[in-house]
Amino acid sequence: MKSDQQDKIIDLSNASIGYLGKSKAHKIIKSAISVYALKGELVAVIGENGIGKSTLLRTIAGFQPYVEGDFRICGKLISTYREKELALLMSFVSTEIIKVSNLSVFDLVSLGRYPYTNWFGKLLDEDHYLIEEAISAVGLQGYEYRMVNHLSDGERQKVMIARSLAQNTEIIVLDEPTAFLDLSNKYEIVHILHQLASEKEKTILFSTHDLTTAIAESDRLWLMLEDSVEQGAPEDLILNGNFDAIFHSKHLYFDREKGDFRIRKLTKKVAHVHGEGIAMDWTIKALSRNGFEVVNLTDPADITIIVNYQEWTVIHLTKQIKFNSLLSLCRYLNSLER
């Protein structure tokens, strides 16, 4: 605890972000932000669309000034840094997918050496070494001379992360790095970020909408809510109920056991389910999607379903019907309602 003060790589206290206007007519997007990130932490910034995640990240990256408060990077007020100094401390990855033709992976990653190279951008041996190291760190060895516009979106995002690694900065800020990626690439990218934070002691800050990966991999979350910004380990924020406040929708609720949001269904009917194992679990899911709540066998129910491997038997009133898939079962249940 004693070294916390020095280890606060990013430190915001009572800060306001937004746009500076003329003569104090500032447009404040979010105020009273007091959060920090320690060295070697992977921090996920989570919040609804339009709550100010991008503005916060852009302000931390130095693209726009902060409005009020105390906004420190490595102990120094961010406004006192010059562009060059900031570039040695912090690198940035945007959500935009870069599509430049005839640009090789190596050449793109080598742009990370920009703050270090001479006027003409000449790469020295050390630069070559760091570029190769960055490319390997994201698992793209052998891709050096591929053209970036021939890569998949996931690979391209890895190249952009490699570029920020080549910049060799203590902090990496990523604005929704997984926004355009498929599920497996989302997991992979966040996992790479986690490894970089823990192994290379980098402080990595990223915004995301993907709660499952954020909860699974981040050390700390910054939860941007309507009236406040909360921080803590993902599990802390789940336990103290902060997650429920992320989305202002009566159709969504946070499932604390599963660690993800669910769509609230108006359950109309109750069912008994007999069976065991994974087939039983998925049957319950299918039933809840179709508006059936599964209740204890002691409570009364409209319907009884017996799960037996790949076969489902429905007992409804006096009828007894067998189904060989959940799809046909669900179709039958829906037909009952009408």
Binding site: S91, P115, F120
Partner: protein
């Protein structure tokens, strides 16, 4: 490690090889350009006139030194200048259709020339043009494009978003063009014709004395382009990335805009607006060199641009005929098929 360095060299060898080929082709086509003209001179006479002028036919020496060499040199300069300017604009605006005139430099020059030719010509009669001579046109064009440059510098220092600057540039160009149109509407026929001829572009009107001004101007612009190749590489990723890498955006923009304005402004001043080379050549350079690095693309576009202009000039002579075509039409007719071919061959040209 040694392996990597080796493969890096391999990657860039293609670029260097292509540059070498063009570096060989440019002098070849320079000589070819000296060969063609309304008066036939055999190559042996031309070489004699260049290297041993005292033993050569006096008239041939005169034609070569006073007409053909200045014209061929102007072709090289204008091709190189417009292509590099186009490359810079395409990269900074991240727009494959940007060209040297996107900032309104040529419309500024047209306004200057239009005011001189149409305005004063209308007031004081045609004699003024001959008095003011070609230097007057050059000065007017330079003044016009310089004014536009000043406007762009002021705008780009105040406005953050590069797209806004692009849109403002296009709007300013259009506004100026309409002023030029009004001037044209109210001017008499002979004035109008001399203005229209100016807008068609010409490489042949540049004298040796004028070359002494044009040459250092183009050299300055090209030198600035070489110096900004690192900026241009960073601009490829967009201004946010560039800033996050420690680049001073406003300064980098100024250097690039200044270089573009000097290059496009000087060429427009001396040769009139020459279209299409500046848009087509950077694409040809990217395709043939297969790189996005400006340390290679800048020399590449200089050579390819020079070559394209020499070819355009040769074609505009209409070999075997005494007539010459306006160079502006030739560059368009030559450039457009090349760009169409590139676009069809490579679906990715929509991006840089």
């Amino acid at each position: 490690m040694a392996d990597n360095v080796l493969s890096i060299t391999n990657q860039n060898t293609r670029g260097y090889r292509v540059i070498l080929v063009f570096a060989f082709l440019v002098p070849l086509f320079f000589l070819l350009d000296l060969l063609v003209g309304s008066y036939y001179i055999p190559i042996s006479e031309i070489l004699k006139a260049i290297f041993r002028s005292d033993s050569a036919n006096h008239q041939v020496v005169l034609i070569i030194n006073q007409f053909r060499i200045p014209k061929a040199v102007t072709a090289i300069l204008s091709g190189a200048a417009l292509s590099v300017a186009g490359l810079q604009m395409q990269t900074v605006f991240r727009n494959p259709l940007a060209g040297p005139y996107i900032l309104g430099v040529s419309s500024g020059a047209s306004l200057g020339v239009a005011l001189l030719v149409l305005g004063t010509g209308g007031l004081l009669g045609g004699s003024l043009i001959s008095v003011a001579g070609s230097w007057g046109i050059v000065a007017a064009a330079w003044l016009g494009s310089g004014l536009i440059l000043l406007l762009i510098v002021i705008i780009s220092a105040r406005i953050k978003d590069i797209m806004t600057i692009l849109i403002l540039g296009i709007l300013i160009s259009s506004a100026i063009s309409s002023v030029v149109n009004i001037l044209q509407y109210f001017s008499n026929e002979s004035m109008l014709k001399s203005f229209v001829v100016w807008t068609m572009g010409s490489l042949g009107s540049v004298t040796n004395v004028q070359l002494a001004v044009l040459f250092p101007s183009v050299l300055t612009g090209i030198l600035m382009a070489f110096l900004s190749s690192k900026f241009l590489d960073a601009f490829l990723l967009g201004e946010n990335y560039a800033r996050s890498m420690g680049m001073n955006i406003v300064f980098a923009r100024m250097v690039v805009f200044l270089s573009t304005a000097i290059l496009a402004g000087s060429i427009t001043a001396f040769c009139g607006p020459i279209g299409f080379i500046g848009i087509a050549v950077p694409h040809i350079a990217r395709m043939t060199l297969r790189t996005a690095k400006h340390s290679l693309l800048v020399p590449g576009t200089i050579l390819i641009g020079a070559l394209m202009m020499l070819v355009s000039d040769i074609l505009s002579q209409l070999p075997g005929s005494e007539a010459t075509l306006p160079v502006n039409s030739v560059t368009a007719l030559l450039g457009i098929p090349i760009v169409i071919w590139i676009i069809i061959r490579n679906k990715n040209t929509a991006r840089l």
